[in-house]
């Protein structure tokens, strides 16, 4: 019932991300836990993939694999034409916890990637007060934080911190953006507001995005494509495009075809949870 995903995505031009039979297992011997079953995943440049599924199914593991934070136990991961282990990627990452560094101002926090990532770091000392500063300010203005550049993280609200976090993930213009539930800890209204911000940023810059989320509405609002994962050990059990026109609005999420998509995904996840529950019971 589940067609081979490699066949769904027949040969396309440059893949931004390519997972081939990538799997992850933690631990040794009898305590070995399979976190991710061998998974194939193909992302074109400029795609916005939303990854949904029950908790602990390995969504974040895929993200960490692609970001080079976890090593695969098997298979291969290619990002931007190179194997991930080779490093020196221009990846942007944002987590649920904004993890801004408390000893730096918002401006300094957002500028941090320029201090680390090649080729920006070579010119960091020379440009940090000029070109880089302007760049940070322009990006902060895009998310409505221009007045807070000189503030420290503790002076900002959760939603503002998450905006700054997005800026930090984007400042070095990564071709790939990895988001791990960045809006998960926010209240409903702030979250919807940030969906809009995120969509604007994406339309303007068109990075390839992988977004891990629990929120099906969020997935439908932001994604060009949604993958559903099964319970641990995870694998991708559903892969559907999202074709609603952009820019999408929160009102759209109440329309019948959006709701229908949500329903369908919801059922798939409930199925996946049920499967694992039965497995545990037996």
């Amino acid at each position: 019932m589940n067609p081979d995903l490699a066949q769904i995505a027949p040969e396309r031009k440059r893949p931004a991300v390519q997972l081939s039979r990538a799997s992850v297992a933690f631990g040794q011997g009898a305590e070995r836990v399979q976190a991710l079953q061998p998974t194939d995943l193909h992302l074109d440049e400029g795609e916005f993939l939303a990854l949904v599924g029950p908790s602990g199914c390995g969504k974040s593991t895929i993200l960490k694999l692609v970001g080079g934070l976890t090593r695969p136990s098997g298979g291969e991961i290619i990002v931007g034409g190179r194997e991930v282990a080779a490093r020196a990627l221009r990846v942007g990452m944002a987590f649920q916890n904004p993890t801004l560094l408390p000893w730096l101002t918002i401006e300094q926090n957002v500028m941090l990637p320029l201090k680390i990532v090649r080729p920006f770091r070579q010119d960091y000392a020379r440009k940090k007060r000029g070109e880089y500063r302007d760049r940070v300010h322009a990006l902060l203005a895009d998310v409505g934080l221009e007045k807070f550049a000189g503030h420290y993280p503790w002076q900002l609200s959760g939603g503002m911190l998450q905006r700054a976090n997005l800026c930090r993930a984007l400042i070095h213009e990564p071709s790939l953006l990895l988001l791990d539930e960045p809006f998960g800890a926010l209240d409903q209204f702030t979250r919807e507001e940030l969906w809009g911000t995120m969509q604007d940023l994406w339309i303007k810059r068109r990075p390839t995005v992988i977004l891990v989320t629990h929120d099906l509405k969020e997935a439908g609002f932001l994604g060009t494509r949604i993958c559903v994962m099964s319970a641990r050990p995870g694998r991708i059990i559903d892969d559907s495009p999202v074709t609603f026109p952009r820019p999408r609005t929160v009102e759209m999420t109440f329309q019948p075809d959006f709701v229908a998509l949500n329903q369908r995904l919801r059922e798939r996840i409930i199925d996946a949870r049920g499967e694992s529950a039965r497995k545990v019971a037996s």
């Binding site: 904004p98 941090l112 680390i116 503790w154």
Partner: protein, 257 residues
Amino acid sequence: MNYAIRRRMWSAALIVAFFLGWEVLCLALNVSDLVVPRPSQVMATLVARFPVLWPHIIQTLWTTMIGFGLGVAVGVVIGALIGTSRVAYDTAYPLLIGFSSIPKVAVVPIFVLWFGAGPVPAVLTALAMCFFPIVVNIATGLATTEPEMEDVLKSLGAGKMDLLLNVGLPRTMPFFFASLKIAATYAFVGTVLAETVASNKGIGNVMMSASSNFDVPLVFAGLFILAFLGVALYVLFSVIEGRVVGWANRRTDLSPS
């Protein structure tokens, strides 16, 4: 009157009251100055003997500072090694704890044996006394760095050195300054200890010879000097701390956990 000023005034009042109480008690109970001299006597001795005491003060101060400086350098390096590597942490900790458990009085004669009486054993004792709290604090600060903070940088391709300089060390600064304040006072203890056992210069030596001459006010004058030096150093580090790690004290509940 705001809280800060009021607090300072109370603090000053407590110090004044302490010395007044001491003075009054000594007078009322008619305590001999061979047992406990009055603060006024101590101050008089201090002023009268200051020209003689001065070189000793300088001696104690610079030996302490050298020992302290070396202790900080050694402590930071060992702390950084232990804090960034799980293996180093597990391997080296037992040895360090063992070393720090040795009473430093017991080590002084060994230093004297190796280097002769003089400033070198004092420097080494100060170093041995003060490096351990720095090691522990730096190591703890680094080892408790949130992995997510590091993940953000790692995903940018940051190397170990980038992580240490941009996340590890700045985050560890509050721990570091807390340990500096402890270490500075320990360094004084170490120096005076070594001077008492084997030296012909320094406040420790002055106090030793004064007590064998039953010159108790001079012994107390030495204590006053040490207390003053300790407080001065503490204040110095507090001021630097306020400038460097003000961010750590300004955190409020607004910040995410």
